[in-house]
């Protein structure tokens, strides 16, 4: 407790360095921007900005990337409320009541509730991380190779429980990600694996063109297939202050939404999107007047917006303490840490305390900045919303190309971008989710290393995964989850959790 506070204070002393304040601000600003603009999400943006962060201190880089992720949650609500389009997936449910409020001339109140709810959730989530990350990291330090391997198996399985779509497809994506990760030089024997004899593949497939291709390029192609949506902004924003009645109704929803987000963010595969869905349906179920939902209930804005911000932040906990990325954005940050020579995991707190506490404390500052960026400047964002998609997608392509090229000054990597862009498009058409692939790709090398070490330690006996108590519990949990997903009743709730209320 005291340690956490001391750590947080130390972190604050780092986060308020002018350079870190600057990158925190840039992150929050870019996050809001992409949150507002439908058609570009945090995964693509973080992938695009990764190369630019190589020239920064790792702490500044992660502060900025984190700001993009939780900043996007703020921006997403603006589009949802004003235009009835989710700027981000995590704002899908905010459209329901937010847009109705806007049509009733209460857009300002809805925006303010969303921003203040997010601020509250963000602050609580920061303290939550500071309190719970250190003990979790301490537990993880006791893990042996077999335990680590099983933990990663559990992480990957849990990630797909919460994903949409078919189970077999999600599992296949995990295996494909692991397989792609094994391309390149084998660390132990030095043998080249599946490189087609191409020297550029000796270091393996770079995860930046992979992520950009699957997410950014594929997304652009599929967005361009559909006729462009014309943006019509509903209602004028006159009064930014919610009424007393709004406050009275919203505060409990904010509390509940924050609580839901805190815990769902921790789960692999969780994070912002799932949190907002669950918070909305919980609020609707608990309400004494559920019929108000969908007609401009302020709780229907407050709960999901608090939840998605809390969830976005707590999804950093598994990364910083266990080294396991919870979703695709966090997987990219894991990659960013590795490029800077910081191995994500329980040792980060001890070895890189500046980075660990600096990033956590920057979330406090970032959330305050975001309220300032979002509320008074709301008219600027509204003006940006009027930029049609066909005027900004070429810029995304240009930045992707430059970003991928400058990683290694390699045109080969740009060629990979074409390949993965096309594959990502195919995946969309066939109903494959690319997120599990990316998670598995990041974890792949670690899994193989731990598998080998576990086998060497146990003398080649695979029973070690079951006889080590920690590993056995983790594997049992993974199996239990898989069985749970296959139960017909769970299948139904899983489907409705995502489809309901759309």
């Amino acid at each position: 407790m005291i340690d956490s506070l001391a750590g947080l204070l130390h972190g604050l002393s780092i986060a308020i360095l002018p350079i870190n304040l600057l990158y925190c601000f840039i992150g929050a600003l870019v996050g809001t921007l992409i949150g507002v603009l439908p058609g570009i999400g945090p995964v693509a943006t973080v992938a695009m900005l990764l190369p630019a962060t190589f020239y920064l201190e790792p702490t500044s880089a992660l502060i900025m990337l984190a700001g993009i992720y939780y900043g996007a949650q703020y921006g997403g609500s603006t589009t949802a409320i004003l235009v009835n389009l989710p700027g981000e997936n995590s704002s899908v449910v905010t459209c329901l009541d937010g847009y109705q409020m806007a049509r009733q001339g209460r857009a300002g109140a809805a925006l303010a509730v969303a921003a203040l709810g997010s601020l509250f959730a963000g602050i609580v989530a920061t303290f939550f991380i500071a309190l719970f990350a250190p003990p979790l990291a301490a537990v993880a330090l006791a893990f042996g190779p077999a335990d680590y391997f099983s933990l990663m198996v559990l992480g990957l399985v849990a990630a797909i429980v919460l994903a949409q779509g078919s189970l077999v497809k999600a599992l296949a994506m995990i295996i494909l990600g692991l397989l792609l990760a094994s391309v390149g030089t084998d660390v132990e024997s030095g043998a080249r694996r599946m490189t087609f004899g191409i020297p550029d593949l000796a270091d393996g497939i770079n995860f930046v063109p992979l992520a950009m291709g699957l997410f950014a390029i594929a997304e652009i192609i599929s967005n361009l297939e559909k006729p462009e949506q014309r943006v019509t902004i509903s209602g004028r924003i006159e009064n930014l202050w919610p009424t007393l009645d709004d406050f009275r109704r919203a505060w409990k929803a904010v509390l509940r939404g924050t609580g839901i987000g805190l815990f769902l963010g921790l789960l692999p595969g969780g994070g912002a999107m799932l949190s907002s869905f669950v918070a909305y349906s919980a609020e609707k179920r608990l309400s004494k007047q559920p019929q108000r939902f969908g007609r401009g209930a302020v709780e229907g804005v407050a709960a999901p917006e608090s939840a998605n911000n809390a969830g976005a932040q707590t999804s950093f906990i598994p990364l910083l303490t266990l080294g396991i990325p919870a979703n695709a954005v966090i997987a990219l940050m894991a990659g960013a840490m590795m490029i800077h020579g910081v191995q994500p995991g329980p040792q980060v707190m001890a070895k890189n305390p500046d980075l660990f506490w600096g990033v956590i404390a920057s979330m406090l500052i970032g959330n305050i900045m975001l309220v300032v960026i979002n509320l008074p400047l709301i008219r600027v964002w509204v003006a940006l919303l009027k930029i049609p998609y066909h005027l900004f997608y070429p810029a995304i392509i240009v930045f992707c190309c430059i970003g991928v090229y400058t990683l290694n000054n390699s045109t080969f990597d740009v060629t990979l971008l074409i390949l993965f862009g096309f594959v990502g498009y195919l995946f969309m058409k066939w109903g494959f989710e690319p997120a599990p692939l990316l998670l598995a790709f990041v974890l792949g090398p670690l899994m193989e290393e731990n598998l080998r070490r576990a086998m060497q330690l146990s003398g080649g006996n695979p029973m070690t995964f079951v006889t080590s108590p920690i590993s056995a519990v983790l594997l049992a949990a993974a199996v239990a989850l898989l069985i749970l997903i296959m139960l017909p009743s769970f299948q139904k709730t899983r489907e409705t959790a995502f489809v309901e209320d759309r």
Binding site: G165, S166, V168, K169, A172, I175, L176, L178, L179, S182, E188, S189, A191, R193, M194, F196, I217, I221, S222, L224, E225, E228, P388, H390, L391, Y393, P394, A395, I397, V398, C400, C401, I402, Y405, T406, N409, T411, V414, T415, L417, I418, G421, F422, Y425, L426, K429, W430, G431, F432, E448, L451, R452, M455, Q456, G459, G460, N461, P462, P488, E495
Partner: protein, 153 residues
Amino acid sequence: MLKQIRNPNDVIGGLFLIAVALLALWLCAPLRQGTTLEMGPGYAPRLLCIIQLCFGLIMLVQGVMSEGPPLERWVPRPIIFVLASVAFFAATLERLGLVVAVVGVVLISAMANRETRALQIAAMAAILAAFSVGVFVKGLSLSMPVWPSFGSL
């Protein structure tokens, strides 16, 4: 279970997985397998290929045995022009420089939709080229040629 299966999509997806797994198995053929105790470079990839083959077959069978929505239609225009613009960047950057590459990307990718006007394309190309040179080459001092290098042509 049956309800969420999309028939032709699953068949093609399954075939795709099987094809990738077979290709990877073939590529792994020269790699030493090793034993469980001392795993060679080929151990993990082969294991993964076999698991993926199984998943591919399951999907194939599911796809054949169940009903599902039809395949989604492909729209060739954005696929061709978006990917071609990236290819243009890869082909030209090192010889013709950043300005030509960026202008090319904008011109080609703008053809992926029918809405952009000529004047807008020209403005985007000019702004993005200037921005890229200013931020990436001058600002972040990344090493990229800006103009064509006629010496090597």
